[in-house]
Amino acid sequence: MAESKPITKNVDWMVVLIYIACLMIGWLNIYAAVYNPEAHTNMFDLSNNAGKQLMWIGTAALLIICILVIDYKFYETFSFVIYAVVIFLLVVVLFAGSNINGSRSWIKLGSFSLQPAEFSKLAVSLAISKYLSDPAISLNRKLKDYYPIMGIIALPAFLILLSNETGSMLVFASFAIVLYREGMPGFIPAIGMIGAALLIITLLFVKWYIAGAIIVIAGLVIWLMPVMTRRRGGLWATIIVAFVMIGIVFGVDFFMNNVLQKHQRGRIMVLLDPDSDPRGIGWNVIQSKIAIGSGGLWGKGFLQGTQTKFDFVPEQSTDFIFCTVGEEHGFVGTTIVVFLFVALISRLVVLAERQRSRFARVYGYCVAGIIFFHFLVNVGMTIGLMPVIGIPLPFFSYGGSSLWSFSVLLFIFLKIDAQRPFTLSRG
């Protein structure tokens, strides 16, 4: 093994540069969000979020150096150990965690708090990658091969749910992307998406119209279907699918009223009509849209935003940091951020595809999927396209736990990728 070659030669600098760009833009926006024109807030003052974030960035750099120094085989070998440690922490937090905003999910270490749920993404990614690294496992043929994956996801998901962090739990949905890549039949994510689309459509239109539309479409499908397909059961399959969809349409009320909790139901209703509750849940959505919308094409300029600064937008340095970007840097700024994210996750997919080991590829997809899901939900909620779910925007939002966990997640993959020339293909 040519371990003597410096890591700087093989690491993917494009990802590193995007990472650094995100951190810097994020930090400047956190500073803008907490900036007080009267007091001339100091960027480096540890008493405000901008100063603290700088400290988190510094410690993240130390963590990255550690990751790059540790042997790349460590992560694969100790995957399940890391998973076990995180599960242990999730159990501990249930009993010893301190209560912040109704979630019992933080471990206090002096004046700083850590959120084990943030690290569960890393643990689950490693565990799934390790499990799938066995070439005998096939996701498009054997149903029983799914069970361990379900178990790996369900255990931390259940623990996180117990600590009232629904947002962090939903992130596990992002593993659908990696499973799809590894052979999960395409109809499963398709069903998921159609189900979500039906839910939204049902809340917007009269149910009988939708049922009518489904029947018409089913009729068209049967009519256009080749005769052979129809004879081979295509007819009945289409009819059954149509009936299941109609069933979903009429089951939505039951789902909304009996399965979802009141605040979750409210968030979905607000997504459809923010003015339905302008002082309550809708407040966040309306104020966030006003802040972003008021930025215009070029924005109001660095530190010139008023909406985010004067507390119109809640959580402006954490979950709603994208509003500050939108208000102060306008459409130009938001476009840059969207491009950074799309470029980052696309690049990660490209990197994943060039891995020789299945472990590395699966892990790369996990990282891309998780970052994508955060981007999808976080940016979506600030522009009123997604329900308000409190999950951070990776590398932008203020917060040590999330910055650490995303950095570790990303750089473990970069380390593995950097060793790619020296690994043998197994998968």
Binding site: P37, E38, Y180, T306, V349
Partner: protein
């Protein structure tokens, strides 16, 4: 084959990115509505406060109108102050005032304008307008002040003041903002929604220095302010001021009602104050002084003060007695076998004579018959059944009920029923002999001056009333609230009123109120002497006139003035004459009443300690005529009223309480 799925995945990522960019492009570039909603620097939203509605008297004379003034607003984050001292000099304020005003404004909001100095007159505004250009962050807003044509009706009209923090937080729909004005009491409070009008919004453009650069989009999005609706009262401003002058240096109330409609003609709460002092820059100072005033001028006595009705209550007893058939117009009673005392007067052989001479034993007997008007042998049970039947009859006169006048904080009064006494004694452990002081309007009865004026109106109408109300027309159409057009029946037949009215005429012509009769007008009236623990008796008189076609019903309460005939009756009759003939003949009586000063007789709570022994003596005196063991005055001092905490406001309530007595 699975490798190709990477394109699906990257395609999906790109699709989300494109959708988000389109959405952002729409929000940030295409849709302009968001850039107005945010307090953007170039386009400013200016709120136009409409004029409050004006208030008129029954003849169309203006009572309340608005004077334009200028408020100085400050937007803290824009302020750049180089020469604070000069700024303070120009405005005539102290440095520490400046600091505290700025701190308060910053605490509310740093981006939104808040009130800095209010209500600068036109002249002040002109003199400082030019200099203020040098100071950024300050701007003027036109505003208005309530102005009163006459220094009267302070409590009835109420006052307008800046919305309090609590009100701001409690409002259901977010209408008011910091610094807005809101009606705080009286008519101004009850009719706030009608008076306040509709705010207008204007969008104006301005440059970085805040200089006006014209309206935005040619005013397409602007909405005009709509002035509040005018209110038309039934008040007679001239009579009101005359009544005020008669009540000078007295504590008490005058309520005059037009019986046919229920409109309030005059409402005096004495002592009063000039409402203009609360509609000025010096609101806080003046308001604090009014709150500190021991005579409590902010307490609206006609609807909030409670008294025992005393002998005026005998009118209702007689009416119920006649209606229930326990007496006839010719029934007579003597003083024999009666525990209540009386004075020397001619024999009371009819109902009319009983009323004229206000004979206590007469009404003791009427009440006794009312209570035992059933076939139950057991006197305890009979009393219980009888009292509840009596209670229901009396309640129809509005006693112990809220009448529903359009003024805030109307006191309900107290009309005891079976439950009320059961709480003291236990069920069936009391009977007539425990409650007979009710017969002459003493005991646990509590009324307000408004209620007794309404009783006078009922008698004038021979059996019905309209809810007394101040506002008899809202807006240009002069709409009357439907509840004020609803006729309330008392259930007593019209013919039963005649003997009572005959007795009331007798009272004014030759009875207890004979010294204040008016030449040429037939007045039917009844005096009352309300006993109370502290100080002399309260003088009460209720009346209506003219008898054949009543145009005015009145109740006058003068605290600590002694018998009903001494102060209340003369004042009432002078007001009646003034209203009916617009002049007063008995100048000597008028002058005597105007000069009568009873303030020294009024016992203030602060003088309670030194006068402790006197108070005790008084209690015994009160006790004597009724001998009622249930008299709250006989309960342990300091013990809370067991049944009705509200009754503690009354004159007979326990020493600790009693606002009204305090006055």
């Amino acid at each position: 084959m699975l490798e190709s799925r990477r394109f699906v995945i990257i395609g999906f990522f790109a699709l989300v990115g494109v959708i988000y960019l389109l959405r952002l492009f729409y929000l940030q570039v295409l849709d302009e509505s968001y850039s107005i909603e945010s307090s953007s620097n170039s386009i400013k939203r200016v709120t136009e406060i409409p004029f409050r509605g004006q208030i008129y008297d029954r003849y169309g004379k203006l009572i309340v109108y608005n004077t334009p003034v200028y408020d100085l607003l400050v937007t803290p984050y824009k302020v750049k102050m180089d020469d604070t001292l000069r700024f303070c000099q120009v405005l005539g304020i102290e440095r520490h005032d400046f600091d505290s005003l700025m701190a308060a404004a910053s605490a509310y909001s740093r981006v939104k304008p808040s009130l800095f100095l209010r209500q600068l007159s036109k002249e002040d505004f002109a003199s400082i307008q030019d200099i203020m250009v040098d100071y950024s962050g300050f701007e003027f807003a036109k505003s208005s002040l309530r102005t009163y044509t006459a220094p009267t009706l302070a409590n009835t009209l109420g006052y307008v003041s800046e919305i309090t923090k609590g009100q701001l937080e409690k409002q259901e729909e977010p209408y008011y903002r910091q610094g807005d004005y809101i009606g705080q009491s009286g008519v101004e409070r009850i009719y706030e929604n009608e008076l306040r009008g509709k705010r207008g919004t204007k969008f104006v453009m301005q440059n970085v220095a805040g200089v006006y650069k014209g309206s935005w989009k040619n005013g397409e999005l602007d909405t005009m302010a709509v002035a509040g609706e005018n209110l038309y009262t039934g008040l007679d401003l001239e009579v009101q001021q005359y009544a005020d002058s008669l009540m000078v240096n007295k504590v008490g109330s005058v309520v005059a009602i037009e019986p046919k409609t229920g409109q309030v003609i005059s409402m005096v709460s004495a002592p009063t104050y000039d409402p203009n002092i609360l509609a000025s820059r010096y609101f806080s100072k003046n308001f604090a002084a009014l709150v500190r005033n021991p005579y409590k001028p902010l307490f609206n006595r006609p609807v909030m003060a409670s008294y025992r009705p005393g002998s005026t209550f005998k009118l209702i007893q007689a009416l119920i007695g006649l209606q229930e058939g326990v007496i006839t117009p010719g029934s007579g009673f003597t003083h024999a076998n009666c525990p209540v005392g009386c004075h020397n007067h001619p024999a009371t052989s009819t109902v009319a004579l009983g009323v004229t001479h206000s004979c206590n034993p007469y009404f003791y007997n009427v009440f006794r018959r009312l209570i035992y008007k059933n076939n139950i042998k057991n006197t305890f049970k009979a009393s219980a059944v009888g009292l509840d039947a009596w209670h229901d009859d009396i309640a129809k006169f509005g006693i112990g009920q809220r009448l529903g006048i359009d003024l805030p904080s109307e006191y309900k009064g107290n009309l005891p029923d079976k439950k009320y006494y059961d709480r003291f004694y236990g069920e069936y452990r009391w009977k007539f002999s425990n409650i007979y002081s009710l017969s002459i309007g003493e005991g646990e009865l509590l009324i307000t001056p408004l209620k007794m004026a309404n009783v006078a109106a009922i008698i004038a109408n021979r059996g019905y009333f309209y809810t007394p109300h101040v506002i008899h027309g809202i807006g240009d159409k002069k709409t009357v609230k439907p509840e004020f057009l609803e006729r309330h029946e008392t259930g007593v037949d019209a013919h039963n009123f005649e003997p009572v009215i005959e007795g009331m005429i007798g009272a004014v012509e030759a009875g207890t109120a004979r010294r204040s009769r008016v030449e040429g007008i037939t007045i039917a009236g009844k005096t009352g002497t309300s006993q109370n623990k502290r100080g002399d008796d309260h003088s009460i008189f209720i009346a209506f006139a003219p008898v054949d076609d009543p145009k005015i019903a009145i109740a006058v309460f003068v605290e600590n003035a002694g018998a009903g005939g001494s102060a209340a009756a003369p004042i009432a009759n002078l007001i009646i004459e003034k209203y009916l003939s617009r002049k007063v003949t008995n100048k000597a009586l008028e002058e005597r009443m105007m000069k009568l000063d009873l303030m020294s007789k009024v016992v203030l709570p602060t003088t309670k300690k030194p006068g402790e022994t006197e108070t005790k003596k008084k209690t015994e005196e009160v006790k004597k005529p009724t001998g009622d063991p249930n008299d709250p005055a006989n309960r342990l001092p300091g013990a809370p009223h067991p049944a009705n905490p509200a009754a503690m406001r009354g004159p007979i309530a326990l020493p600790k309480q009693s606002h009204q007595k305090a006055l």
